[in-house]
């Protein structure tokens, strides 16, 4: 049992110091009825070699995305993560530290959080950002709840362009509160008119840019309409790499920006953990959920950082807290920050441009296949295509050819028959021209 440093001799000596004969005596408060007489039916301990072998066998039963042309997106994006990112986040001082409640011995984590908050505020063009939420979906629910508190209103309007998981998590998490969540139908053709739906009861409108079906939309007019009606505009960003090229939500009048940080610095990991980004205006900061790191000085007057404005949080405000969140996505924020630091201004813009070019190239190639239509008129690195056959069947057929062609919209909206031919296709810098050829060739064959 390689993780347990106590020897039997140590245990005996410790029991003697305590003054009991047997360690079982320390469990005297446990009712006898709750002590299983027959054990738990679990295997005994195993060597490192054995555990690795068994888990590697499970891993081998999966098709890793790097071993196939991969065009999957829909809220999780596969980018190249520089080697330095993973090396640095595995430093034990980052990996094995707790939430930085003792700032004198946590300046490393705290300064990194302060830098993360700054990076997120900069790329979203917002004033302040917090130290992370679990993922974009839960951040979205928190944003809607925050908007209800700030406006003292109940009506939460969710766009049909919003990721279906963000929609369903928001609806689930708010179902027992005063909020009334109204989800617009999915909007693959970008025809919804949200401005008409904003009224004096509306707490917030939650949109996404680029939209779930890929469309880039200027929400400036919606932001104006929200301001006029006293409602807040919440903009979700599922692919933060887009912010290197696309007008940020802050420039469109967003009051709260939520986002998924996974695509920067973090692997796909089958969808978890994610990294919830959360940014807003300075004047709303006391209604913000989650931890915040702030700058201050130490007893010698040297700059330092601490967790601050903690009276918003559950450990102090209890049932009146802005959120129940405690553990967040700490190490994922570090990976995000390191990747952003490596990219810098020029690399971030360049990476975004590469993604866009790949997507435009793929979209043009797919559009040349008879019966295939690219839906969004403007997009970043992902777009919906309409196929002449149900997308789920096409995806399965291409998977058998070793191609991860995209995500069928029916996976999220099985009750919407009109979405069955729609496939979401995402391209990143990791896609080679051969990948695109394989996708186009495979699709031609399957559709023949």
């Amino acid at each position: 049992m390689r993780y347990l440093p106590l020897s039997d001799a140590d245990r005996r000596a410790m029991l003697q110091t305590i003054g009991v004969a047997d360690v079982e005596d320390l469990f005297g408060d446990v009712p006898a009825a709750a002590r299983p007489v027959d054990g738990f039916g679990l295997p005994d301990h195993a060597s490192e070699m054995e555990v690795e072998r068994r888990l590697a066998r499970m891993a081998a039963r999966n098709l890793s995305a790097g071993n196939a042309p991969c065009f999957l997106g829909a809220g999780a994006y596969r980018h190249h993560v520089p080697a330095a990112v993973d090396a640095l986040i595995q430093r034990g001082e980052f990996l094995t530290s707790y939430t930085p409640y003792q700032p004198e011995v946590s300046q490393g984590t705290l300064q990194a959080l302060f830098e993360f908050q700054t990076q997120v505020a900069m790329i979203t063009a917002m004033e302040v950002a917090n130290a992370s939420m679990y993922d974009a979906a839960t951040a979205c629910a928190e944003a809607a709840a925050m908007a209800c508190r700030l406006t003292r209103r109940r009506r939460v309007l969710l766009s049909g362009q919003l990721h279906p998981h963000y929609r369903s998590v928001t609806a689930t998490q708010l179902q027992f509160t005063q909020a009334q969540v109204e989800a617009q139908p999915p909007d693959p053709h970008s025809g919804e008119d949200l401005i008409r739906r904003v009224d004096g009861e509306t707490a917030c409108v939650v949109v996404q840019n680029p939209g779930f079906f890929g469309q880039l939309i200027d929400y400036s007019d919606l932001g104006e309409a929200c301001r006029a009606a006293g409602a807040l505009l919440v903009v979700a960003v599922a692919e933060p790499v887009s912010l290197g090229l696309v007008m940020p939500p802050g420039a469109m009048g967003a009051d709260i920006v939520v986002g998924e940080g996974q695509p920067i610095g973090n692997s796909l990991n089958f969808g978890g953990p994610g990294l919830g980004l959360f940014a807003t205006r300075q004047k709303y900061v006391r209604q913000m959920p989650g931890r915040l790191c702030g700058q201050t000085a130490d007893a010698d007057g040297r700059r330092g950082f601490v967790l601050t404005l903690a009276t918003r949080e559950q450990h102090i405000r209890r049932e009146k807290a802005t959120s129940n969140i405690c553990t967040n996505s700490g190490l994922c924020t570090l990976a995000f920050s390191i990747h952003m630091a490596l990219l810098g201004e020029s690399g971030f813009a360049h990476l975004a441009a590469l993604n866009h070019v790949q997507a435009v190239t793929a979209a043009d190639a797919l559009a040349r296949i008879p019966g295939v239509r690219v839906l969004p008129s403007a997009f970043f690195n992902e777009f919906a295509v309409k196929l002449p056959r149900p997308a789920a069947i096409v995806v399965e057929a291409l998977a058998r050819r070793g191609i991860l062609a995209g995500v069928p919209a029916s996976r999220f909206y099985p009750d919407h028959r009109e979405l069955s031919p729609i496939l979401l296709v995402a391209c990143t810098e990791t896609n080679s021209p051969e990948d695109v050829e394989a996708l186009v060739g495979g699709l031609r064959e399957v559709l023949r």
Partner: protein, 501 residues
């Protein structure tokens, strides 16, 4: 303290912010040229620069390496934060989580291409169900508080399904803040139940508060005083007799894992902090995972997704229409904290049923050893009798010294130990809550006790100032939290760069 020209002190290096470094003309990445194509952004191109600094890889690596050196971690020191379970994080967990067959999987790949991942989620679920004896589990909660939300929402859904509109959730006065915060999100009002003189729930007071209006009682067990609730069977019976559900906050599960089945305690739902009991790293604040085990009465309402196995293999149930249950909805994007669960499964497989039982024994043994040594040295235990995995002291032993619990904690930093949890639980004055975990050697436990007792001796022998002025040797001395909160500076801007006062 001798002043150096640089502000550095040997290995303790001053490090400016990223934004105060770098400049145009370099980059930490080499990307291929983008082909010239007509952009399709619909006129929504970003205008103007963002303002991010450009840095090369060596500069970035040095920046973060230097920052890391300003942190304590379990890898460097004992980290006995009560209720946090800062145990060793095995590196095998890290290695297997990074296997491409786990790390490089997209959540929306066709199910036929992720059979091993679904099997892994199901394996971890089986381990946790076997350990707790509970029939069902929700694997998607992202953390302890999120597991509480999952559990309490499931309870609310079950009560709504019965047509029972109940108004209240009861929590002990020593509860974690997440308990009342979670109850509020579920639309419940919160009432507290006092503790008795032995640091346990006052059963009579609980019974007096139970009524047809109570939806659930939330209890941490072992509780936040580090004590096992020895009347738990009677508590469960009383809660159930009132038609309420019994929620257990599993933050302290490390004391009992592999030794008892929580199902046998009458618990209806409990979250399990994989980042505590099951050794996945805290990472400076997260990510964690909070799978939540559920009794049969709650299982139908567990959130989506769930995993089933049929003749075609493993499948994800992502929609209510595909489920024979009445799921309350989705509480998390995708399928939960997959890579955290990979790590936890590696840990469970490594220790096995016998190792987990030994680990909880060693955790309890180590806490009682510190309880004995520190009590012997003059610290004042908050309650009599043995503790579970953490020992709790009040601050009576500091009476008249002019030294507070906080001072003692800050002085420990100079001694090269991370302090215990302070001022929690709130019901104990000046609380010191010490959780050594099972992964400290006896030598490490002794060194911690020796350091703490030496400081207590200083406090009691007129050297209080050495503690009240601590720490002196850390990268920063005490930080001005009042200033941080009065004039919040939450991000860098060109005008926030100053070196303090």
């Amino acid at each position: 303290m001798s002043n150096t020209a640089t502000g550095n002190r040997g290995l303790t290096l001053e490090e400016p912010l990223l934004f105060e470094q770098g400049g145009p003309g370099r980059s930490g990445v080499d990307l291929p040229d983008a082909l010239p194509v007509a952009e399709r952004l619909g006129g929504l191109r970003r205008r103007g620069p963002i303002g991010l600094p450009d840095l090369s890889e060596p500069e970035v690596v040095r920046h973060y390496t230097r920052l890391s050196q300003q942190n304590f971690g379990i890898d460097t020191v004992i980290y006995p934060l009560g209720s946090c379970t800062m145990k060793h994080n095995p590196r095998l967990n890290e290695k297997v989580a990074r296997l491409p067959g786990f790390a490089d999987l997209h959540p929306f790949q066709p199910e036929s291409t992720v059979q091993g991942a679904l099997e892994l989620l199901d394996s971890a679920a089986r381990w946790l169900k076997a350990l707790t004896g509970m029939p069902a589990i929700a694997m998607s909660p992202a953390a302890g508080a999120h597991g509480e939300l999952c559990g309490l929402m499931t309870i609310r859904a079950a009560l709504d399904d019965r047509g029972q509109a109940r108004r209240l959730v009861l929590v002990p006065e020593s509860a974690h803040g997440t308990n009342p915060a979670t109850a509020a999100i579920c639309g419940y009002e919160v009432e507290t139940v006092p503790a008795n003189a032995r640091g346990r729930v006052d059963l009579a007071a609980l019974k007096a508060r139970l009524s047809g209006d109570v939806a659930a009682f939330m209890l941490t067990n072992p509780n936040t005083c580090g004590l096992f609730e020895d009347e738990i069977l009677a508590i469960a019976e009383a809660v159930h007799r009132a038609g309420a559900f019994f929620y257990c906050d599993g933050a302290n599960y490390n004391a009992i894992v592999g030794r008892l089945r929580v199902a046998d305690l009458g618990i209806d739902a409990m979250h399990i902090n994989l980042h505590k009991t099951f050794s996945t790293p805290h990472g400076g604040g997260g990510p964690g995972a909070g799978p939540t085990v559920l009794a049969a009465a709650l299982a139908p309402f567990a959130p989506l997704p769930s995993i089933v196995r049929d003749e075609q293999g493993w499948r994800l149930i992502e929609h209510a229409r595909d489920s024979r249950r009445k799921p309350l909805g989705r509480i998390k994007g995708f399928h939960g904290q997959f890579s955290v669960i990979v790590r936890a499964l590696a840990y469970m497989m490594s220790l096995g049923g016998d190792g987990l039982r030994q680990a909880s024994a060693d955790a309890v043994l180590s806490a009682n050893y510190l309880l004995a040594r520190l009590s012997e040295g003059g610290l004042t235990p908050a309650f009599a009798g043995p503790c579970m995995h953490e020992c709790l002291f009040d601050d009576r032993f500091l009476d008249g010294t002019g030294v507070t619990t906080l001072d003692l904690a800050k002085a420990l930093l100079d001694e090269g130990a991370h302090p215990m949890t302070m001022y929690f639980p709130l019901v104990v004055h000046g609380a010191l809550l010490i959780e050594p975990t099972e992964t400290e050697s006896k030598a490490s436990l002794d060194a911690f006790a020796d350091a703490l007792l030496a400081l207590v001796h200083k406090a009691r022998s007129g050297q209080a100032v050495e503690l009240t002025a601590a720490p002196r040797l850390t990268p920063r001395r005490r930080l001005d939290e009042t200033r941080a909160a009065r004039q919040p500076v939450l991000r860098w801007k060109p005008d926030t760069t100053d070196k303090g006062d």
